[in-house]
């Protein structure tokens, strides 16, 4: 029986994980490498084992095994195949298995690397990874079992149990309840997996950090081992966030992509510390400074991952939705406590060993600017963290709930983000160790002229909003500086080696992929900023009730209501689909089909916008309401979202840049080795 098989695989993986933790620890204590190797093999085994378990769920899902409670709660017969598969992460129990499966993939992958030079890290990496994995598996096995079946007693009573209670027989519901409509979107194929990948993959850098702390080998070795893992983890997390924004924009029907919802912020917080880490780690590599701080950032990032998962899964944050009361909460709380306390103890224990001689020769040096960058990221983190946690405090102390919503976050984070843009523009021009106003000024004036020209052009176009102008100036500066860096780098190299410009550019990037990949990421962030400025500052909206043939005007756009059809779709939806024709400056530019889906099985409505998206702006139409039967009139809400497409284009650039920066290199370049020597000297002094 598939359910039993999948459950068995879960339990075996759980036992293997526990064994691995014990064997690794024992082998390390007794200095018996064979035990550590055995633990390593165990860790390698978790991935295939969990694959079997996850596959069992998928098989149950696609073959309509509604006697399995999880299957009944997230699928229904009318759902298309791809949604039945994605229902694996459509509910708590399944998504926990999916989560563990991804984590085991990373754990297995990390066993496959060459460990010759870092044997002493191995047992601790195993202990940390497998303890975490065992915890998540325990949640599945003891609390949120996806293989629980429905059993019916002769009296008619139906219970959920893994194994057959005496006197009962399997209960087969005719159909399932279907997936939450919000999740019935192609974006859901990719968004949760990316986000989960980003989350779980941070366990690897964390495991290395703990290994370094426990073994006392706190030189730069662990940093170099983990930085690429961190980059990958960060890329997945970033993509998860962007895809989530895209999904919200396409599905939630409120004209936006980001609502500063606590659950969104929970995913955003580790991204902030992860990004801060990716920058400050360079200071450690180049200058041997900030060892303590980097350790703090890695631990903080992982803690925020666990914390965010706890917030989303325990229902602490929003008690109206907390009807999904789950026993996961207390267990998770215990795990968070364990993680936080252990990490902090280790960190404080090794605090003095992590001390490095710091030298800072110039307030404008790149390391000083990177520190400022870290300050801003942590500032945003504090704002987010406080905004999320405050309603909890308020409710506990005053008994009254409060909402901390977008105005708070936007006001507090806006200036910090502008500061980050400014740093993104200046820091690439500053040198390590040494920079002065003069050297910096010499480098920045050309891009600054370009940026000022861009602002003047925008003013000439009639835009005078000061915030927008500041934002445009900074964004233009970032783009100009980044391109200028490529240009002058390639030019200089070309001159030196007698290469043509493009050959020189290619060689330049090839020889320092992390730096130039990073610059591409900066460009993508500038594109993201363009989109954000467009939608945050220049979004306009209107709403109106139209009779057939009437039209509604917003800016240059005019939409007219043509017709509306209400019909039942084969997958259990009642669809009300309007046809509106859109004119821009009097010229027809096509038709849009905003609609309202009503899902019978979950009794839930969904508002799907009709969007015309161009590089310049999006015209976004929502069907709010309509006159029943006659459909003579309908109410539409329309948004004009300038430049928002730049966000989605920016994310492609972002992927490209991260791939350049993170792609494994064939040769191990000698530069870091020298760095290490230099960096470790002050540490020992």
């Amino acid at each position: 029986m598939i359910a039993n098989f999948g459950y068995g695989a879960l339990i075996i993986t759980f036992l293997v994980s526990l064994y691995g933790v014990g064997a690794a620890y024992y082998g390390m204590r007794q200095n018996k490498p064979a035990w550590v190797d055995s633990a390593r093999n165990g860790m390698l085994l978790t991935f295939p084992l969990l694959s079997l378990s996850a596959l069992s769920i998928v098989v149950l899902l696609v073959t309509d095994h509604y006697e399995v409670e999880y299957v009944a709660s997230v699928t229904s017969r009318s759902m298309p195949m791809y949604l039945k598969i994605t229902a694996l992460w459509g509910g708590q129990a399944g998504s926990l298995v999916f989560w563990s499966w991804l984590m085991s993939a990373f754990a297995s992958a990390v066993t496959l690397r060459k460990w010759d030079r870092d044997r002493e890290f191995l047992p601790w990496v195993i202990v940390v990874s497998l303890t975490t994995l065992a915890f998540f598996l325990a949640l599945n096995i003891f609390v949120e079992n996806p293989f629980t079946r429905l059993w019916q007693f002769p009296s008619g009573q139906v219970v959920e149990k893994m194994f057959q209670p005496a006197g009962s027989s399997l209960f087969y519901p005719r159909d399932g309840q279907g997936l939450n409509p919000l999740l019935r979107h192609p974006g859901m194929i990719i968004h949760p997996p990316m986000l989960y990948l980003g989350f779980v993959s941070f366990v690897i850098p964390y495991a290395f950090a703990v290994a370094a702390l426990v073994t006392g080998r706190t030189d730069d070795r662990w940093i170099r081992l983990t930085r690429r893992w961190t980059l990958w983890a960060w890329m997945f997390l970033s993509l998860g966030l962007v895809l989530g924004g895209r999904w919200a924009y396409d599905v939630l029907g409120w004209g936006g992509y980001w609502g500063w919802d606590p659950v969104e912020i929970a995913a955003f917080m580790p991204w902030l510390t992860g990004t801060a880490f990716l920058h400050s780690v360079m200071i450690q590599e180049k200058r041997g400074m900030l060892k303590q701080w980097n350790m703090v950032l890695v631990i903080l990032t992982y803690s925020l991952v666990i914390f965010g998962t706890f917030l989303t899964r325990s229902g602490v944050l929003s008690s109206v939705h907390a009807f999904a009361q789950s026993a996961v909460g207390p267990l998770f709380f215990g795990f968070i406590g364990l993680t936080f306390v252990t990490s902090l103890s280790l960190l404080l224990h090794r605090w003095n060993d992590l001390k490095a001689k710091a030298e800072m020769t110039s307030m404008l040096s790149r390391e000083a600017l990177f520190l400022l960058n870290n300050l801003l990221f942590i500032g945003i983190l504090v704002v987010c963290f406080w905004g999320v946690i405050f309603p909890l405090i308020s409710e506990l102390f005053t008994g009254q709930k409060v909402t901390v919503g977008p105005p708070f976050y936007e006001r507090a984070n806006g200036p910090l983000m502008a500061g980050l843009l400014l740093l993104m523009a200046i820091a690439p021009l500053s040198a390590w160790g040494h920079s002065t106003i003069k050297t910096l000024g010499r480098a920045v004036w050309k891009p600054a002229v370009v940026a000022i020209v861009a602002v003047l052009a925008v003013i000439a176009a009639g835009i005078v909003n000061p915030y927008a102008l500041i934002g445009i100036f900074l964004t233009a500066l970032v783009i100009a500086v980044t391109l200028y860096e490529y240009w002058r780098g390639a030019l200089a190299r070309g001159k030196r080696h007698g290469e043509s410009f493009f050959v020189a550019l290619w060689e330049l990037v090839k020889r320092n992929r992390r730096r130039y990949g990073g610059y591409i990421i900066h460009l993508s962030m500038a594109m993201l900023a363009i989109g954000i400025i467009g939608i945050e500052i220049f979004q306009s909206e209107t709403q109106g009730t139209l009779s057939q043939g009437e039209s509604l005007t917003l800016g240059e756009y005019t939409m007219s209501y043509q017709s509306l059809a209400v019909f039942d779709a084969p997958d259990g939806r009642n669809v009300a689909r309007a046809v509106v024709s859109v004119n821009k400056n009097g010229k027809p530019v096509g038709e849009l089909y905003p609609r309202r889906d009503f899902f019978y099985d979950s009794q839930q409505p969904m508002t799907i916008p009709g969007v015309r998206s161009t590089i310049e702006d999006d015209f976004y139409v929502l069907l709010v309401d309509w006159e029943e039967i006659s459909t003579n009139s309908a109410t539409f809400k329309v948004y004009h979202n300038p430049l928002v497409k730049w966000m989605w284009m920016g994310s492609w650039v972002f992927i490209f840049g991260t791939l350049i920066a993170a792609w494994p290199e064939a040769d191990t370049d000698p530069v870091p080795a020298r760095n290490r020597k230099r960096a470790s000297v002050p540490a020992k002094a």
């Binding site: 997230v74 919000l182 409120w254 030298e359 002065t436 009730t545």
Partner: protein, 178 residues
């Protein structure tokens, strides 16, 4: 963005409870309800109503602004805003009325009073404290190496860079500019 994660918890409910609660929280907006406005030219427009509603949150659909929430409860709230506007109330008066009726949680931000001041005060203080600490750190690090490298010619400054590549690149750049 991850809004769904909370909503997926819906899936955990037993069948009975799901049907019941879903009906409660996602009661479908009855089509036609909002169409029954009078055509009085002085009547508040949808846009005027939405301008107020977009900064409010109704407890029935948490974290979704009132202007786009599709539940019946929210539709009623918007109708109420329209009615108050029609009676000549100002935005501030309407918001105050809603706070009286439903509590401070309807506002997008906590009102600035009592304990709520903490929301606004803590982040700037924390940020300033962080900035001060960073400043002190930079100061003390400079004192460790008090040699005024900044006054030396750039070449020497560049030479101490551990990163050969950057140094080389920088040097190349300097030459190219000469």
């Amino acid at each position: 963005m991850m809004r769904y994660s909370r909503l997926t918890m819906v899936n955990l409910l037993s069948i009975m409870r799901l049907v019941f609660l879903m009906a409660v929280f996602f009661a479908l907006l009855v089509p036609g309800a909002a169409l029954a406005q009078d055509t009085d030219p002085d009547a508040p427009t949808d846009d005027e109503v939405n301008a107020i509603a977009r900064e409010m949150y109704c407890p029935v659909c948490e974290n979704v602004p009132l202007d786009v929430c599709g539940t019946q409860a929210c539709a009623q709230w918007r109708a109420l805003i329209r009615e108050k506007l029609n009676e000549g109330w100002s935005e501030a008066e309407i918001k105050a009325y809603f706070v009286d009726q439903y509590g401070a949680r309807v506002l997008a931000e906590p009102p600035r009073q009592g304990l709520n001041w903490l929301v606004y005060v803590v982040p700037p203080i924390a940020f300033l404290a962080g900035a001060y600490i960073l400043y002190r750190g930079l100061q003390s690090w400079r004192q460790i190496e008090p040699v005024a490298v900044a006054d030396e010619p750039p070449q020497q400054g560049e030479d101490i860079l551990p990163d050969d590549y950057v140094a080389r690149l920088e040097e190349e750049l300097r030459r190219s500019q000469q």
